[in-house]
């Protein structure tokens, strides 16, 4: 490994084996812009491959970022034909699943009817896991449903724009929990099996099978996500105390799940040193940002620390994203690139 890691996301863009890229951080730090930028850069760098950008944030803003309406199904981005986007509401996927469960079993007197729901509510991380599996199923379904160009539709990399709330990836710790729980249940069903079958007419077997299936799926997903060749996580933050603190905590948590984290994008930097007409407030603020940047350089020396500028307006539309995202690969230099700040076309 290099002693000094270059402050760009080039390794992510160039890496051939990556299948999943997660982009995460607290709300308002520019996750969507960053994930869109990464997706745009990937699509530009590999014009012959397909890429998918998924937002699991209930407050969808991919549509706004690309100035184009997206929905539950993958839709190609206008002007960048090898990038598709979809917006999925994980909560909706979850309630779909529960509805499905109640379809199988519509006996109102069945004491085991609510068991599935109770279980899904009681295991930490299982709702995230289930909704994630729904997302993955959705992607798989898409592959099979459009059978006219099946070879075309398999994505090289899928980029996730994660929700700022909660522990999006808490389910990575799930397999161990589930295994424990399942062995307990098996023990219990061995002892209470006859009684349970009297109560539920043998339906508890379904529940165990279902849980087993969940466990298998989760461990599969887990294996993929903890493999640094397949999956990486990009943290997004701004140069302020609380954002840095949250980022640090997130990195520690991700590392405890054995997930690969080696890039941090610092957004909304002012780069006020080279301004022609100095603004006092910008410079003061830039000084504060620099203070935290120095600290970050010291703390995250073995990370790719990408510094992105704050522009004059919202970054929306494919053209603007292309302009902005090139600084993910080539560090922003306020002297030569300063013109971009007011250059973006307004939509």
């Amino acid at each position: 490994m290099d002693l000094e890691l270059e402050p760009t996301l080039e390794s992510i863009i160039k890496q051939d084996s990556l299948k999943w890229i997660f982009v995460g951080g607290k709300g308002g730090v520019g996750k969507t812009t960053t994930s869109s930028s990464i997706a745009v850069q990937l699509a530009l760098a590999h014009p012959n491959d397909k890429f998918l950008l998924i937002s699991t944030d209930p407050a969808h803003n991919l549509s706004d970022a690309f100035c184009q309406k997206f929905g539950k199904d993958a839709r190609k981005v206008e002007g960048l034909s090898n990038l598709s986007c979809m917006e999925i509401d994980p909560e909706a996927a979850m309630s779909d699943l529960q509805q499905q469960a109640s379809q199988y079993n519509d006996d109102p007197n069945d004491p085991l009817k609510s068991m599935m729901n109770d279980m899904t509510g009681s295991i930490p991380g299982i709702d995230e896991a289930l909704s994630f599996m729904e997302v993955l199923k959705h992607i798989k379904n898409q592959k099979t449903s459009k059978d006219d160009d099946t070879s075309d539709i398999s994505y090289r990399t899928i980029i996730f724009d994660t929700a700022p709330t909660g522990h999006t990836l808490r389910f990575l710790q799930l397999p161990a929990t589930l295994e424990k729980l399942l062995s307990k249940f098996k023990d219990l069903s061995g002892r209470l099996g006859p009684m349970l079958s009297m109560l539920g007419g043998g339906k508890q077997q379904d529940i165990f099978e279902k849980l087993n299936e969940v466990q298998k799926n989760v461990s599969e997903v887990n294996e993929q996500f903890t493999n640094p060749d397949l999956t990486t996580f990009v943290c997004v933050c701004i140069s302020e105390f609380l954002s840095l603190y949250e980022t640090e905590r997130m990195i520690q948590e991700l590392m405890s799940y054995n997930m690969d984290v080696n890039s941090i994008v610092v957004n909304q930097l002012l780069f006020a040193d080279a301004d022609e007409d100095p603004c006092k407030r910008c410079q003061a603020r830039w000084n504060m940002q620099k203070k935290y940047l120095d600290q970050m350089d010291e703390l995250y020396e073995d990370y790719h620390l990408v510094k992105m500028p704050l522009l004059g307006c919202e970054i929306r539309g494919v053209e603007n994203l292309k302009l902005f995202s090139k600084f993910l690969l080539k560090p922003y230099d306020p002297k030569t690139d300063g013109s971009i700040v007011f250059q973006l076309e307004q939509k």
Binding site: F241, L244, Y245, E248, Q252, Y292, D294, Q295, M296, E298, L299
Partner: protein
């Protein structure tokens, strides 16, 4: 086999019962806690590696925590975060180490329980069964009414004598009363009962009394 004169028996059972009452008054949990503390300090002195490590870790944790609190998180973010990382790592390890010591603590607790049983309950029951027919002392004939002497001689001693059962009962009640009298001034005061104004307050009226339980044996 057990050749003890009645006089020795009187004194021995008195001492054992006194000890048992004291133990009951102090409480087994308190004894276990203090025993563990003593064990760890002595163990550390004697150079028990694990205990020593645990002690060192705890001290280091406290040091890091003091350092972390003494600096400003916003001014020295990098240093503060590094301290945080060290603290988290160390506290995780310490937790694991402490967890592994829990077995030892439980073992110590069990040993203490066995020791207490062997020095209190066991001798009492051995005495009561082995010397059930031993007469500790006699009354001169006709000192008490026959009915009373009959009762005092229960269950296995000839009428006119006093056996262990009655002697132990007497010891228990006297010692527990004495202990109560000694402890009473040091107990937390109970609020004086107020006249209940309605039914609701009736239930919450103070029912706490500072009466110590009297053990049966």
């Amino acid at each position: 086999m057990l050749d003890i004169s009645p006089y020795q028996l009187v004194i021995a059972s008195l001492l054992v019962i006194f000890f048992k009452q004291i133990v009951g008054k102090v409480g087994k949990e308190v004894l276990e806690e203090n025993g563990w503390r003593l064990y760890t300090t002595v163990g550390q002195r004697l150079g028990d590696a694990k205990l020593k490590e645990l002690g060192n870790r705890r001290a280091e944790l406290a040091k890091i925590d003091r350092e972390r609190k003494s600096i400003s998180a916003q001014d020295e973010y990098a240093r503060w975060t590094k301290l945080n990382r060290r603290f988290d790592k160390l506290s995780g390890e310490t937790e694991k180490l402490a967890e592994s010591q829990k077995d030892r603590k439980a073992q110590l607790g069990r040993a203490l329980g066995v020791a207490l049983f062997a020095t209190t309950s066991l001798p009492i029951w051995v005495f009561r069964i082995w010397f059930r027919k031993a007469v500790l002392f006699y009354f001169p004939a006709g000192t008490l009414p026959y009915a009373l002497e009959y009762v005092l001689a229960l269950p296995f001693v000839p009428t006119g004598g006093v056996g262990l059962t009655v002697w132990m009962f007497a010891c228990n009640s006297v010692i527990s009363s004495l202990l109560f009298m000694v402890c009473f001034p040091f107990q937390a005061s109970v609020p004086p009962p107020a006249r209940p104004t309605n039914e609701k307050e009736d239930k919450t009226a103070p029912t706490e009394t500072s009466k110590p339980a009297t053990p049966a044996s």
